[in-house]
Assembly symmetry: C2
Homo-oligomer: 195 residues x 2
DNA sequence: AATAATTTTAAACATACGTTCAAAAAATAA
DNA sequence: TTATTTTTTGAACGTATGTTTAAAATTATT
C-alpha cells in the first residue's frame, strides 16, 4: 500500500510547517528564508521544493495549519455546556496558551493581505472570520442570558482579541510571569469589561 | 547664513521619514524598500543616501520620530490637571487617533529587536518604557485616589496597550466606524476594566 | 543482490534590493 | 554671466535569496 509513503510525506510536511512557523514568529514574513526553515531540520533549502511548490505556498499552508489549531481549540470550548463566563474565560486562556507555548505561531497571522494571492487571502479571511464569530457567539450568549452587560459585541471582541494577539510582541519564555499566570490575569480583567 | 540650507535639509529629511513611515505601515520592515520610499516623493533611491547613511539608519530615525510624536501626546495628557478617569480616557483616545489618522505609523514599532543594532534597540526600548510608564502612572494615580479598583497596574496596561496597538491590524479608513467612534468605544470598555 | 523508485544534495541561475559613485542638473554666490 | 556648491541621477556592483536541475544518495521492491 502506498499510504505508508503518503503518511511519511505528510509527516515531513508537518515538520517543515512547524519549522516555518517557528521562523515566521521570529523573523516575520519577509524575513523568513527557505534556508533557515531547512536548517532547523538539518536539510537544504532545495529539498523544500520536493514538498512545496514555492515559498508562498509553504507559508500559506503554515498559516492554515495555525488557524486550524486555533479553531479546534475554540470549537471545543463552544461545544461545552458551561456558562458564558467560563466559556469566555476558557477561550481567552486557550488562545493565550496556544500563542505562547505552541512556539507562539500567532505572529504568522499578521497582515496576510500583503503576501497572499487573492484566493489564499479569501480562505484565510474566512477562517479568521469563523474564529471571531466563535467569540461573538460566546459574548452574545452571555448578554442573552443576562450574565454580561449589553455591550457592543464586535467592539468588545476586537478589544479582547487585540489584547491577546499583542502578547506575542512582548512575551518571553524566560520572563517573570508564566503563560498560565498571564492568561489567568487577562481572563480576569477582560471579563470585568463585560460584567 | 547656512541655517536656510540646514532648514531645507531638515525638511527634506522629514518628508523622507514620513514616506518611510507610510511604507513601513503597509509593508513591514523587511518589505520596505528604498525604492518605494523614494518613489512616493518622486525621487530615486540613490538620493536617499544623501540624507541618510543607510536603510537601517533611515528606518531607525523613522522609528524615533514616531515614538516622539506619541510621547508628546501622552505628556500633554499627564501634565493636565484632570482626574485619572479623564486622563486614561484621553490617553486611550490620543493613542488611537494617532495610530489611525497619522497614517497609522504604529505598525512600524513592531518587533524592533529584529532589525536594530544593540545601541539603537536600547534607545527604542527606553522610549517605549517611558511611554508605558506614563500609562502606569495614570493607572496608579487612579488607584491611589480610589477611583480605580486595586488592579495589577502592569497587567492592565499591557491589556490596554495591546488592544490599542492591534487596531492598526484591522482599521480601514473607509470602514463603517470612524476612528473617533472607535476610540470612544474603546475608552468606555477599557475603563470598565479598572473601575 | 540487483533494480527501480524516492528523496536529498549542491551547484547554477535569476532576480530583487542595498549601496556606491562619477557625472549631470539645479541652486546659490560672486 | 560665470563660478561654486549642493542635490539628484542613473548606471554599476555586490549580496542575499527564491527557484531549478541534474546527479548522487537513500530507500523500497523483486
Amino acid at each position: 500500500m502506498s499510504s505508508f509513503r503518503a503518511q511519511k510525506m505528510a509527516k515531513k510536511k508537518q515538520e517543515i510547517l512547524r519549522s516555518a512557523a517557528a521562523v515566521l514568529v521570529e523573523k516575520g514574513y519577509q524575513g523568513t528564508t527557505m534556508e533557515e526553515i531547512a536548517a532547523k531540520l538539518l536539510m537544504t533549502k532545495g529539498s523544500m521544493y520536493y514538498y512545496f511548490k514555492n515559498k508562498d505556498d509553504l507559508l500559506y499552508q503554515c498559516h492554515l495549519m495555525i488557524m486550524e489549531i486555533c479553531l479546534d481549540g475554540i470549537e471545543k470550548v463552544i461545544e461545552s455546556d458551561r456558562n458564558p463566563i467560563d466559556k469566555l474565560r476558557s477561550a481567552i486562556k486557550e488562545h493565550i496558551l496556544l500563542a505562547t507555548s505552541e512556539k507562539s505561531m500567532f505572529m504568522a497571522l499578521s497582515k496576510p493581505n500583503l503576501n497572499f494571492s487573492e484566493e489564499q487571502l479569501q480562505e484565510v479571511l474566512e477562517l479568521r472570520k469563523s474564529y471571531s464569530q466563535y467569540f461573538d457567539r460566546i459574548i452574545q450568549e452571555g448578554i442573552d442570558k443576562q450574565v454580561f452587560d449589553r455591550v457592543e459585541v464586535k467592539m468588545v471582541r476586537l478589544i479582547i482579541l487585540g489584547s491577546l494577539n499583542w502578547i506575542q510582541e512582548w512575551y518571553d519564555q524566560n520572563g517573570p510571569q508564566s503563560a498560565e499566570e498571564i492568561s489567568d490575569a487577562y481572563a480576569d480583567y477582560l471579563l470585568k469589561m463585560v460584567m
